[in-house]
């Protein structure tokens, strides 16, 4: 039996309407899928018609994306061309027309490839009345909506051409679920001034590779320069075993794909 959909004008109204069992409806690729699969924990949907949730604004080198911005919107935005590969890595064309930034932030591993990019970009997560850094958000995300309301958007410094690197490894070509994904923002020419590295499917949610970030800083992107970062890239990871790949396999191939991404 279908579950009732409640439509609200603003994110704050949504937050008030979200009670026990009510799920926020963004693009539907997570919550409608869950109910189709028989998730009886969801007893109804709530959505917002606030148009600002669908807008992309880029000003003074900083981008602000509404939580309902889709992967397709990002992939075709000229101002976000640098990060388009991460948006294009999500699903096929129909999924990209529906999957949203907000949903990606809350997707369970191995989904959420765009959120991996947001980790590397050190994005800020916005709520109606507060904001927090993405690391903090990911740690606290399980109870975050009850605490702060729905995510209204994300913002980040748009990387310059060549600063952003992204790799998604999947068994099905051209599109499949992630064995793992890696995003990196490398600043500096010759010597690495700073590195932001996000990993997907290497834990129950996207995570930062802090040890590898530290190892890259001050080195160069040569075989020798990245050796220490390659050695420690798996530090802190706890990948799952699922139908796509075993935990062991993910841990074994992560350094290989990270090395290729850094040298590529």
């Amino acid at each position: 039996m279908p579950l009732e959909l409640q439509t609200c004008a603003s994110p704050s109204e949504v937050t008030s309407a979200l009670g026990a069992g009510k799920a926020y409806l963004g693009g539907g690729t997570l919550v409608v899928r869950a109910t189709n699969e028989g998730d009886i924990g969801i007893t109804g949907f709530v959505r917002s018609t606030d148009e600002s949730l669908k807008s992309i604004e880029v000003s003074a080198g900083r981008a602000r994306l509404g939580a309902s911005v889709t992967m397709a919107q990002i992939a075709r935005s000229e101002k976000l061309a640098a990060i388009a590969p991460a948006a294009r890595a999500v699903g096929g064309p129909a999924v990209r027309n529906m999957a949203t930034v907000g949903g990606n932030l809350l997707a369970a591993s191995p989904y959420g490839d765009f959120a991996v990019a947001l980790v590397a970009l050190r994005a800020t997560i916005h709520f109606a009345e507060s904001e927090m850094e993405i690391d903090e958000f990911l740690e606290a995300r399980d109870g975050i909506v009850a605490e702060r309301g729905i995510v209204t958007g994300v913002s980040f410094v748009v990387p310059a051409a060549g600063e952003f690197r992204f790799s998604k490894v999947s068994r099905v070509k051209p599109k499949g679920v992630s064995v793992l994904s890696i995003a990196a923002v490398i600043k500096g020419s010759g010597t690495v001034e700073s590195a932001g590295i996000g990993l997907g499917a290497m834990a129950d949610r996207p995570m930062r590779a802090k040890a590898a970030e530290a190892a890259l800083a001050g080195s160069d992107l040569s075989e020798e320069g990245i050796a220490e970062a390659v050695r420690v890239i798996g530090e802190g990871t706890a990948p799952a075993t699922d139908p796509v790949a075993s935990s062991w396999y993910r841990a074994e191939v992560l350094p290989v794909h990270f090395r290729r991404l850094m040298l590529g």
């Binding site: 279908p2 009732e4 959909l5 539907g28 690729t29 409608v32 189709n36 096929g92 064309p93």
Partner: protein, 160 residues
């Protein structure tokens, strides 16, 4: 459960129904409006058999709630043919033996239509990307890819 009104254009015709709140577009199209061309395959957004075009964008009708399509223009495979005259994409698929059991075909055709509407002369890579969300367990995809390239050549010849 209270019923809610929903109104949209389906293959060029104004349609209005009272539906159960939260019903998927797939169930409304098939069970309330009698358009059985979108297929319910996985109901998870994985197979693409339910693909329809909503306001020019390819969408998965199994994951789209019908109420969110209020006022939209929806196209399904059932609206492609002009009477007994098949759409060029359908014709290329039939003539290229690019369908076997036929279950994926209505969704596949809509994914191809979006591609050719945006890019009338796509490359092979464009075609592979465009149908990457549509699963076919019969053909091995190659006949479908060839059919799309044939349909696009036919388009360009007609344009000349």
């Amino acid at each position: 459960m209270a019923r809610v009104p929903v109104q949209f254009t389906l293959n060029g015709q104004e349609r209005a129904e009272f539906i159960e709140s939260g019903a998927t577009l797939l169930s409304v199209l098939r069970d309330r409006m009698g358009d059985t061309s979108p297929k319910g395959g996985c109901h998870q957004g994985t197979c693409g058999a339910c693909s329809v075009i909503v306001d020019g964008e390819l969408r998965l009708s199994c994951l789209t709630l019908a109420e969110t399509c209020e006022g939209a223009s929806i196209q399904t495979a059932a609206g492609l043919a002009d009477g007994s005259e098949l759409h060029p994409i359908q014709k290329a698929i039939v003539e290229g033996f690019a369908t076997q059991c036929g279950f994926c075909a209505p969704g596949m055709v809509m994914a191809i239509k979006v591609l050719l509407d945006e890019k009338p002369a796509p490359s092979r890579e464009d075609v592979i990307e465009a149908i990457s969300g549509n699963v076919c367990r019969c053909t091995g995809y190659e006949p479908i890819i060839q059919a799309v390239l044939t349909a696009s050549r036919s388009n360009s010849q007609q344009a000349v």
